[in-house]
């Protein structure tokens, strides 16, 4: 079973759920940075201090988290108003994973997301209006309403798609990484997925394939403790669904505090360096929690009483804000980020409400490369 005792609030520098132990049997890029964990996870963190992060980078990570939070919260509100149609899968509470990785990426790095992909799409710089427009299935949406919330894609931003069939995008990310390797290009493909993905075949095929071909790809498991409604521990043979499988593929067992954007950022940097150096893939399990339900308006009543409250104490944005102020960052700069985010999400909302519906003429466009749908002469 996944350990869910988070009563010991370790404060902002702690990985409150799982200890990262120092002793390692062999030196790896992660071990050298004290990121690798071995053995059974305990409640102690040895995460290095954060002195490598500039204030500008810290403010960027904070801005990304705040903007994702505000946009996701707005998406939820718009869903309840009937303006976001179909479905939506929010990352409320999981913002630090998206921000930490996006903050560590270089231009040209590629993101492969799941249906819970709004956060990763926003984190790569896609405007809120494009995301909300797609959720609201308007003509101003990222794909003009042809994809919907589960398939956010912005190739110009390196967001190579959001995939709604569990596990499908892990092999696809391998292919993009293979192209980089083959052409001698330095970009890295990053594949984000949930804990539930670790029990589908494509996860295992992709990990083996990536290691055997030594591909520049990073697999990021966002372990929010629930596959959809079922606790992941009830349906998984090991405690840590991703990390405990890593050794089967010769990979380091890495579990980090996914609610700590700095820890995510630092771990990501090591994985990017490793990938760019030609040393192959990484698998990183980020412990986190979604504050909302699985999708739509799911009230998440399957969760034990009090669990959400405990995780709210470790809200990644609240923790990060405290850390910024403790580090002497001017509160005015922090507030400016928060105010600007609110302004952006309000402006995006109004623009989407005013946007026209998708035009009928695009119903049959872009099935084939000639722009149309003709299957016959």
């Amino acid at each position: 079973m996944v350990k869910r005792d988070i009563n010991q609030d370790q404060g902002d520098s702690a990985s409150a759920l799982y200890r990262v132990r120092r002793g390692t049997r062999r030196q790896t890029p992660f071990a050298e940075r004290n990121i690798r964990v071995t053995g059974r996870a305990q409640l102690k963190s040895v995460t290095p201090r954060n002195d490598e992060l500039t204030e500008a980078k810290r403010l960027e990570l904070y801005r990304l988290q705040v903007e994702i939070r505000d946009c996701e919260q707005r998406a939820y509100d718009l869903f309840l108003q009937g303006l976001v149609k179909g479905t939506s899968h929010l990352s409320l509470g999981q913002e630090a994973v998206a921000a930490g990785f996006a903050g560590a990426m270089e231009k040209g790095d590629l993101s492969f997301c799941t249906y819970r992909g709004h956060a990763h799409t926003l984190a790569r710089g896609v405007p809120m209006e494009k995301v909300l427009g797609e959720l609201m299935q308007r003509d101003n949406g990222l794909m003009r309403g042809k994809g919907g919330s589960m398939h956010l894609t912005s190739v110009d931003h390196g967001v190579m798609g959001s995939y709604a069939i569990i596990g499908a995008h892990l092999p696809i990310a391998c292919g993009a990484a293979w192209r980089a390797q083959y052409k001698g290009q330095k970009d890295v493909s990053v594949c984000f997925f949930g804990d539930g993905t670790t029990n589908i075949g494509a996860f295992h095929e992709a990990l083996n394939f990536a290691v055997v071909w030594k591909l520049p790809v990073i697999f990021v498991c966002e372990n929010n403790l629930y596959m959809e409604y079922t606790p992941i521990g009830e349906v998984t043979a090991v405690q840590h669904p991703a990390a405990d499988r890593a050794s089967a593929y010769g990979l380091d067992r890495i579990i980090i505090d996914g609610n700590d954007a700095d820890e995510v950022f630092r771990t990501a940097r090591v994985a990017f360096d490793k990938a760019r150096a030609g040393d192959g893939p990484s698998l990183i399990e980020c412990m986190t929690y979604r504050h909302s339900g699985h999708s739509r308006a799911d009230p998440a009543k399957y969760r034990p009483a009090g669990e959400l409250d405990e995780w709210l104490k470790r809200d990644p944005i609240r923790l990060y804000r405290s850390r910024l102020l403790a580090a002497g960052v001017n509160e005015a700069a922090v507030k400016a980020i928060e105010q600007e985010s609110k302004r952006k999400v309000d402006a995006a909302t109004e623009a989407c409400k005013a946007a026209p519906a998708s035009p009928a003429k695009i119903l049959t466009t872009d099935v084939y490369a000639d722009g149309g749908w003709a299957w016959r002469n």
Binding site: L110, L142, M143, R144, K146, G147, H151, T153, S154, V155, D156, M160, G161, Y163, I165, G167, A168, H169, L170, P171, I172, A173, C174, G175, A176, A177, W178, R179, A180, Y182, K183, S189, G201, A202, E205, A206, N208, F209, V212, W213, I362, T365, D366, V367, Y368, A369, G371, W373, A374, W375, R376, N377
Partner: protein, 326 residues
């Protein structure tokens, strides 16, 4: 001009495209060092090296997923799925990922790749290594689907498939690998979406695909020699795009339409052709459209039973003769 087997044509077709374009890469199970389980890719590793010709684990999802990711980002992969039956193992990529990515992304994502696969019966392998599944691919918007019947077309359609900007499923017929045909020297490039009239005739149009083409041609000779019936045989070659100009043009001349299909009966490719003919050629037809297919069964292993299942020349002759009351 040289005589070449269908098997050797596969390697020549791939080599022709790999020589032309350094972005063409080839991956699959046992395709490199072993030269393929059907020996259809012998020599490619030696000619193009291990960077471009790569053995994979037995991971069909990884093979097609990797091909897709590579295609999306600038390569032109050719992926082999050893037996077409195994498309079921990685059907998510065939049905959900590869064909939909362009549409869902509003044209942002491109997926130019070729999936080659050994299709069809005749090897006495039983129900999981013998099916004809071209209809599985034909039904999916966003895919193109070809099935060559001659060594010449293997090369020409392979070139067309690799150069096409859309994903193409390339069905090779296992029972044709040993078949021989004349192939000109130099580059061969065909066009997708073109059917070929392989025997002109005036009394009926007979559509066939892959292994069914030589069987339809044999039947045509018998019909002519024994029954005085002169049928036109069309090698459909490309199910998507579908060359209805050639097919319906022929029906307008012959006024009768037959399909010879190896896939099981329900929702076989000929069902779509019959539907189209009913819509668009009804007043050209002087009789019902007749489909000659494998019955709606899993295929047996035993040679005599497998032979009974597939359309063969005597059955084609009998069906056409009875239908035309000749």
């Amino acid at each position: 001009m040289a005589e070449l087997t269908y098997r050797d044509a596969v390697a020549r077709g791939i080599a022709q495209e790999m020589s032309r374009d350094p972005d063409v890469v080839f991956l699959g199970e046992d395709v490199a060092k072993a030269g393929g389980v059907f020996k259809a890719t012998v020599g490619l590793l030696e000619q193009f090296g291990p960077r471009r010709v790569r053995d994979t684990p037995i991971s069909e999802q990884a093979i097609l997923g990797a091909a897709m990711g590579a295609a999306m980002t600038g390569l032109k992969p050719i992926a082999e799925i050893m037996f077409s039956d195994f498309l079921a193992v990685c059907f998510d990529y065939i049905a959900n990922e590869i064909p939909k990515s362009r549409y869902m992304s509003n044209g942002q994502v491109k997926c130019p790749l070729v999936i080659r696969t050994g299709n069809g019966a005749g090897s006495r392998f039983g129900a999981q290594h013998s099916q004809s599944v071209e209809n599985w691919a034909m039904m999916i918007p966003g895919l193109k689907v070809v099935a060559p019947s001659t060594p010449h077309d293997v090369i020409g359609l392979m070139a067309a498939a690799v150069r096409d900007p859309d994903p193409v499923i390339f069905f090779e017929h296992k029972s044709l690998y040993a078949a021989k045909g004349e192939v000109p020297d130099g580059e061969i490039v065909e066009r997708l979406g073109t059917a070929k009239i392989v025997r002109p005739g005036k009394d009926a149009t007979v559509l066939a695909l892959a292994l069914m083409v030589p069987r339809a041609l044999a039947a045509a000779e018998t019909l002519a020699a024994t029954h005085g019936i002169d049928v036109e045989v069309i090698d459909v070659r490309s199910l998507v795009p579908l060359d209805l100009a050639t097919i319906l043009g022929s029906v307008a001349r012959t006024h009768h339409l037959f399909t010879v299909e190896e896939n099981p009966r329900l929702c076989g490719w000929g069902a779509e052709l019959a539907s189209i003919a009913a819509d668009e050629a009804f007043y050209d037809l002087d009789g019902p459209v007749v489909r000659i297919t494998t019955p709606h069964i899993p295929l047996p292993a035993a040679d005599n039973l497998e032979d009974l299942a597939l359309p063969n020349a005597p059955r084609i002759v009998d069906k056409i003769r009875r239908s035309l009351n000749a």
